[in-house]
């Protein structure tokens, strides 16, 4: 990928360096936390998957027994019992309630069933088959229990799946995009700062060099001067001004053509 390790465009100052470092620390900590969350969610996910498999198997069994119980009822009490039961129903007596459960920060829905109101069907099949009707009823209540459980397991399965995907996306983003970018920015800032420092240093060194040479020249000049001075003194003692002679010579060579020496 082309822009994989680009850096942010910032002014390379020391404050920015501090800010970037703080962000990098934050990103690292966030990454560790999210990874933990993702692991916890994945563990829950696997557990739920196992439970779903076993519940589905038991549901198959239970549905089989309950439909067989229904057959027994039909056998004993005649075929029309189904209709009379159906007609007698006004409202559902088994209802399902949903509530939220918090698992590792993810809100999962959970269903539970509760009985409300009494059924008037206690006397169904009074003359024939009452026993079978009650047994069939119990079998189907159990079937409903299993179904409700299965429903809540499956919804939490789906929700967890979505949550895990988002968390993993965030983890990967932090790991592969945000952190490298921040790190590169920091490296860049440091490099720039180093360069500036080096420039300064270089400038400093250069100036020092100049100053040194200037000093040396001065010293050399001063030495020459003092040598000449002492020579002059000596010559003066001898009666000649060398320097003026020198001066005369040099000056004359240039100024006066008349004076020929």
């Amino acid at each position: 990928m082309a822009g994989q390790s680009q850096r942010l465009n910032v002014v390379p100052t020391v404050t920015m360096l501090g800010a970037m470092k703080a962000r990098l620390v934050g990103a690292t900590r966030g990454h560790a936390l999210l990874k933990k969350k993702s692991d916890a969610l994945t563990m829950q996910f696997r557990q739920i998957l196992k439970k779903i498999v076993s519940t589905k198997e038991s549901m198959g069994e239970i549905m089989k027994t309950s439909s067989f119980a229904l057959t027994e009822v039909k056998y004993v009490a005649g075929d029309s019992i189904k209709h009379s039961v159906l007609e007698n129903v006004k409202t559902a007596s088994l209802k399902v309630r949903s509530k939220q459960e918090n698992i590792a920060g993810v809100k999962l829905p959970k269903f539970e069933y509760f009985t409300e109101g009494e059924t008037k069907n206690d006397l169904t099949g009074l003359a024939r088959g009452g026993q079978q009707v009650q047994q069939c009823r119990a079998a189907y209540v159990k079937a409903i229990e299993v179904l409700v459980e299965l429903a809540s397991l499956q919804t939490s399965f789906l929700t967890l799946d979505a949550a895990i995907k988002t968390t993993n996306r965030r983890v990967n983003a932090l790991e592969n995009v945000v952190k490298p970018r921040l790190e590169n920015t920091i490296i860049y800032i440091k490099a720039e700062l180093d360069e500036l420092e080096r420039e300064d240093f270089f400038r400093l060194k250069k100036i020092q060099g100049y100053k040194k040479r200037a000093l040396e020249r001065q010293q050399a000049a001063a030495k020459q001067f003092s040598v000449e001075q002492s020579a002059e003194k000596v010559s003066l003692q001898k009666g000649i001004s060398i320097s003026s002679a020198h001066n005369f010579l040099s000056a004359a060579a240039h100024k006066d053509e008349d004076i020929i020496f």
Partner: protein
């Protein structure tokens, strides 16, 4: 398809496969209804009245069904389709129009043969708050008693055989009512009201049954009567699932015995009942096959003859 070899063949061959168990039952019932109508057409008095008596039981079921359906505001057409075909009568659809029980009685039931049952045991206030099941059972009790009286009037071999069969029916209902009302809100007096006025258990057995609170107590009561003792001995203690099956077996045995004698109307009754049992067997077998429970087939099939 084994059924195609029997008389049910033509009724089933037009159905597309896969054949659903309810379709099988429907078609068999249709055939039964047609046979019945055939017999009814060719009957004279008093056989025709006798034959009609046989269907009153189903009529009661249908009436109760439509009444409950109307109370809970269901569609009339749907209800009509769910009625048992043997129990249809002409004005059955008008049952749905009535708003309360008094109108119901006035408009409809007074014309049907069920009228005397309603007036005999139920006043109009009772009709309003009575539980549907209780109403059904009260009507059935009146019906049984009426049928019994009618058979006695016919006299001769009919009276003998029919009274035997009807007493068995009455006793069986009494036992079932007692067992099934254990633990429910049915009071003992109500329970006693639902027992018929004839049969082996009347009156002492009914007294004892009315106070029973437990299956074992019921068993204790029944074992005093030899014919029922054998039924109950087949069950182990505390088990009641097979009670219904045992009753069915006993009924089938008695119905078969009815064919031993000649020249009485009991054979018709026996024929209809045995046909119903046959349909029940068929349904059981087909459901077992459909639900992959072939091993349970023999649990509940009652062999006729």
């Amino acid at each position: 398809m084994h059924l195609s070899a029997t008389e049910y063949g033509p009724y089933l061959q037009n159905e597309p496969s896969p054949l659903h168990t309810t379709t099988i039952v429907e078609k068999c019932t249709l055939k039964l209804v047609e046979d019945y109508k055939h017999m009814l057409c060719q009957a004279t008095e008093p056989l025709s009245t006798f034959l009609e008596y046989i269907t009153y039981g189903h009529m009661i079921d249908n009436v109760v069904l439509i009444v409950t359906g109307t109370l809970h505001e269901r569609d009339v057409q749907e209800l009509l389709e769910k009625c048992h075909p043997l129990g249809m009568f002409d004005s059955i659809a008008t049952l749905a129009v009535a708003q309360n029980m008094r109108e119901l009685y006035r408009l409809v039931l007074v014309d049907t043969p069920l009228a005397p049952y309603f007036s005999e045991c139920i006043t109009s206030e009772d009709l309003d708050d009575m539980n549907i099941e209780i109403m059904r059972n009260t009507l059935y009790k009146a019906y049984l008693e009426d049928f019994y009286r009618f058979c006695q009037k016919l006299g001769g071999a009919t009276a003998e055989i029919m009274s035997d069969l009807l007493s068995f029916e009455a006793d069986r209902r009494a036992v079932n009512i007692s067992i099934n009302s254990i633990g429910t809100e049915l009071t003992r007096d109500d329970r006693k009201k639902l027992y018929s006025n004839f049969g082996l258990l009347h009156p002492y057995g009914h007294e004892e049954l009315a106070v029973c609170e437990d299956i074992d107590q019921v068993r204790g009561v029944m074992e005093k009567y030899p014919p029922y003792q054998s039924i109950f001995s087949k069950l182990s203690y505390g088990e009641s699932q097979m009670l219904d099956k045992a009753f069915y077996e006993e009924e089938v045995k008695r119905l078969c015995l009815a064919f031993e004698q000649q020249f009485h109307y009991g054979v018709f009754f026996a024929y209809m009942r045995l046909r119903e049992q046959e349909i029940r067997n068929l349904m059981w077998i087909s459901e077992c096959v459909a639900q992959n429970q072939k091993s349970r087939v023999h649990d509940s099939v009652v062999f006729i003859f």
